[in-house]
């Protein structure tokens, strides 16, 4: 509750604290989604999701079609299927660097007929998101069939965490899902992929959300969009207006509104238990891109082979919103946007607040890659690191109500117990604290290191 709310000046749903970084979305927000020319080679990682890697089922020299299964989800626990994103010939399995810095085995696929772009025949965007979604098809879809279709298509959360969506939507009698929250809050600066998807293909998003609602048995759908995307909100409203129990909620623009632990308090005024899940409140949260993928999977049998990636930043020549086959290397995607300018300094998988630096551009685009941000030298902060002056700005901005400086300093001095007392494990690494820190202390880095140490000490 801030003063604006008290005086009725700002009644948009909001969460406490957080930051307002410059948006930098103007480069790409008005550019329609383009489709990348089909690359010569894609490298499909077997691990693109939370949990265990998929098991390779493709043989070298095997000919595959686009959407054919190349990795079956591991039988042991959480996992997801992966598919060929282009038609071609399977090469020997190799290890590739992932955008998040880990490594994974991957299935390379070389395009079959060089020079012939299948996209020219049937535009992939239309196949995935376009056209009419027949109401009769939605009506006949049964919950279990939807879940199976979602699992078979290898759909995982496209907001970043890449948790298998079928597992998220699977409901149990003890823990029913009351509400499906569709997350259209693209709070990362620079990124516009979800915005464009909502503006250009609102029907796919709405249809996917309704199928997901059927699958999980939720009574209502709430689709949240920040107020810096009025066109998206209007498009969704037009596409969903006639459906009962489907509500579009415009929330205030603040980072990290797209985090479920921020969005749920903003929309429902309820807090997700720190050691729990939204499910504990009867809420399932899916991203708008995930919703669109569900629609394609259930009604058109489309596997998760493509995703929309915003390629942006001052370091890239012509920024774009690109529909990219999964497994395309960062290098190929960036070349598809005219390459980089001379003073490009950092390539990020994702946006600047939570994105990972990618130093090996052979890394492939995965299901969780929502953006490629190339920062130029001018866009990189040059302020010097100083001693902590205890200004408390990290506490004033932490959306989870933590004391980042205390956690970071406990980790720095090797006191893991103290770090835990200060709720080390609760941190979502959104980066608000480090964004605001006048001393430029790498708070998130310390906290990540602390979590790694914690995991190591737990496994010993």
């Amino acid at each position: 509750m801030n003063w604006r709310t008290i005086f009725g000046l700002n009644v948009l749903p909001d969460f406490a604290r957080g930051v307002h970084p410059p948006e930098h979305k103007s480069r790409t927000r008005d550019l329609p989604i383009e489709t990348l020319t089909e690359p010569e080679v894609v490298t499909i990682p077997l691990l693109q999701h939370a949990g265990a890697a998929a098991e390779c089922v493709a043989q070298p020299r095997q000919q595959v079609t686009a959407g054919e299964l190349v990795g079956r989800r591991s039988a042991s626990g959480i996992s997801a299927n992966v598919h060929a994103s282009i038609a071609g010939v399977v090469q020997a399995v190799t290890a590739v660097p992932l955008p998040n810095g880990r490594r994974s085995l991957a299935v390379p696929i070389r395009r079959l007929a060089p020079g012939e772009d299948s996209n020219a025949v049937a535009p992939v965007a239309d196949r995935l998101f376009g056209g009419v979604w027949a109401e009769s098809d939605i009506a006949v879809a049964r919950p279990l069939d939807i879940l199976h279709a979602v699992a078979d298509a290898g759909i995982v959360g496209m907001g970043g965490a890449a948790f298998p969506t079928d597992l998220k939507l699977r409901t149990t009698p003890e823990r029913p899902i009351e509400t499906l929250l569709v997350n259209g809050c693209e709070c990362e600066p620079f990124l516009t992929a979800d915005d464009r998807l909502m503006r250009e293909y609102p029907a796919a998003v709405v249809t996917g959300a309704r199928l997901a609602q059927k699958a999980c048995g939720a009574r209502q759908i709430v689709l949240a969009v920040e107020n810096n995307k009025p066109e998206a909100a209007a498009a969704l409203l037009a596409a969903s207006g006639q459906f009962a129990g489907f509500r579009i909620t415009v929330v205030s623009t603040k980072y990290p509104m797209g985090g479920e632990r921020q969005l749920i308090p903003a929309v429902f005024r309820r807090e997700v238990p720190t050691s729990g899940l939204p499910l504990d409140l009867g809420i399932a949260v899916i991203n708008v891109a995930t919703a669109a993928a569900i629609a394609g999977a259930v009604l058109r049998g489309q596997a998760m082979t493509h995703r929309i990636v915003t390629v942006t930043g001052g370091g890239v020549r012509s920024p774009k919103n690109l529909l990219v086959p999964i497994g395309t290397s960062f290098q190929t995607v960036i070349e598809g946007c005219g390459g980089v300018v001379t003073d490009a300094r950092r390539v990020l998988a994702g946006g600047p607040m939570m994105g990972f630096t990618v130093t090996d551009l052979t890394a492939p685009v995965t299901k969780g890659t929502g953006g490629i941000t190339v920062l130029s030298a001018a866009e990189i902060d040059s302020a010097e690191q100083t001693a902590c002056i205890r200004c408390g700005r990290c506490l004033d901005t932490c959306p989870l109500g933590l004391a980042p400086t205390r956690i970071a300093h406990a980790v720095k001095f090797g006191d893991l117990a103290l770090a835990q007392q200060n709720h080390l494990a609760a941190c979502c690494e959104c980066g608000c604290c480090a964004y605001e820190c006048p001393a430029r202390i790498p708070l998130v880095q310390y906290i990540r290191a602390g979590k790694v140490e914690l995991a190591q000490s737990a496994s010993e």
């Binding site: 930051v19 050691s275 960036i334 980089v340 990972f356 130093t359 933590l402 709720h423 605001e436």
Partner: protein, 350 residues
């Protein structure tokens, strides 16, 4: 870190952890710069009011503080920390809190103690428990109690001197408004308190100058407004309570309490030092209120007419405790620690 003109072929891209975007308006240097800017009207007014003495005390304090900072950095084999501006701020705050007639030797000693013992002995910027300027002042108070309570009227004050030239009466001894009120029940008019035409420390007499600079400080977020408001709020409550209990004649008055002595300088410039105050918003309210209460307790019940310095140092001393009590609870409750049921955060709704 350099990148070739054909970078995509042979990228030499830097690795770094997120976030890759920082608030350009939030840097330590800028915060220090804003504090210095905010101090400008205070220092200027003190020079206008006290002329030569203000210049002498300020220059000596700044010179010695900077020299001390440089010498200690050398001794500790650390990078020279002068550019961060903190030593300069300490020196100015100390100077503004000293009586105009204080002998030069004492000023130098105070500046040395403030920087060397008040800050660097703890480990430099960010590490000190106590406000360095107040440490220096407390040291002087203990060493030179007479000189530290010797007050003179500002040079610019028109004094009826029966034809003696202004420059001849370089210093007219006078009691501070608070001492006059406390010991001889003479109340100073508000106008003098606002413009600063009263006896007192170099920078504390002019309410207008302090508020002017202080508002800049708060607007630029170089200091937390909760600290200022908490302290002023507690002083206000104490002042109103005094009026109610002692009556309109005996009481000093609300605005007079606020604008006399070191309350304004303390509320805007001393308690807003982030290093020595609590971290959380709630903690800052507590700190501000605590300091304000101690100030009023000293003013109303103790032997000293004024107590901002003691109140701030006491507040600094309880800051770790306030921090302990006021750390925020995480959204969604504390982390459940399955293997440590005896750990501290057992009270909440886990």
């Amino acid at each position: 870190m350099t990148l070739s003109p054909e970078p995509i072929d042979r990228p030499q891209l830097a690795a770094a952890t997120a976030p890759h975007l920082m608030d350009a308006g939030s840097t330590t240097r800028r915060m220090m710069g804003d504090v210095l800017l905010a101090l400008l009207p205070v220092v200027a007014t003190s020079i206008w009011l006290f002329r030569g003495n203000a210049v002498r005390v300020t220059l000596l304090s700044v010179g010695v503080a900077l020299l001390t900072e440089a010498a200690v950095c050398r001794m500790r084999r650390r990078k020279l920390s002068l550019p961060d501006g903190s030593a300069l701020i300490t020196a100015l705050l100390l100077a503004m809190s000293l009586p105009p007639e204080l002998p030069s030797f004492s000023v130098c000693l105070g500046a040395f103690v403030a920087v060397a013992l008040g800050k660097q002995a703890f480990g430099g910027l960010g590490q000190n428990l106590f406000n360095p300027a107040m440490v220096g002042r407390a040291f002087l108070m203990a060493c030179f109690p007479a000189a530290m309570t010797q007050w003179t009227l500002p040079v610019s004050t028109p004094v009826a001197t029966d034809g003696v030239a202004d420059s001849a009466v370089d210093a007219v001894s006078a009691a501070t408004p608070l001492a006059a009120a406390k010991f001889s029940h003479q109340f100073t008019d508000l106008e003098s308190l606002l413009t600063g035409n009263v006896a007192g420390s170099l920078g504390e007499t002019s309410a207008i100058a302090i508020v002017l600079g202080g508002l800049w400080l708060l607007l630029r977020r170089a200091g937390d407004w909760r600290l200022t408001l908490g302290m002023l709020g507690a002083v206000s409550i104490g002042a109103v309570a005094e009026l109610l209990l002692r009556g309109r004649e005996a009481g000093f008055g609300w605005l007079s309490h606020l604008s006399s002595g070191g309350v304004l300088l303390g509320a805007f410039f001393i308690v807003t030092d982030p290093v020595t105050t609590p971290l959380s918003a709630r903690g800052r309210w507590c700190f501000g209120l605590f300091v304000g209460i101690i100030v009023m307790v000293i003013r109303l019940f103790a032997g000293y007419p004024e107590g901002v310095m003691f109140a701030v140092l006491l507040g600094n001393a309880v800051t770790p405790l306030i921090n302990r009590w006021t750390l925020p609870t995480p959204v969604g409750g504390p982390v459940v620690l399955p293997r440590q049921p005896t750990s501290e955060e057992g009270e909440a709704d886990a």
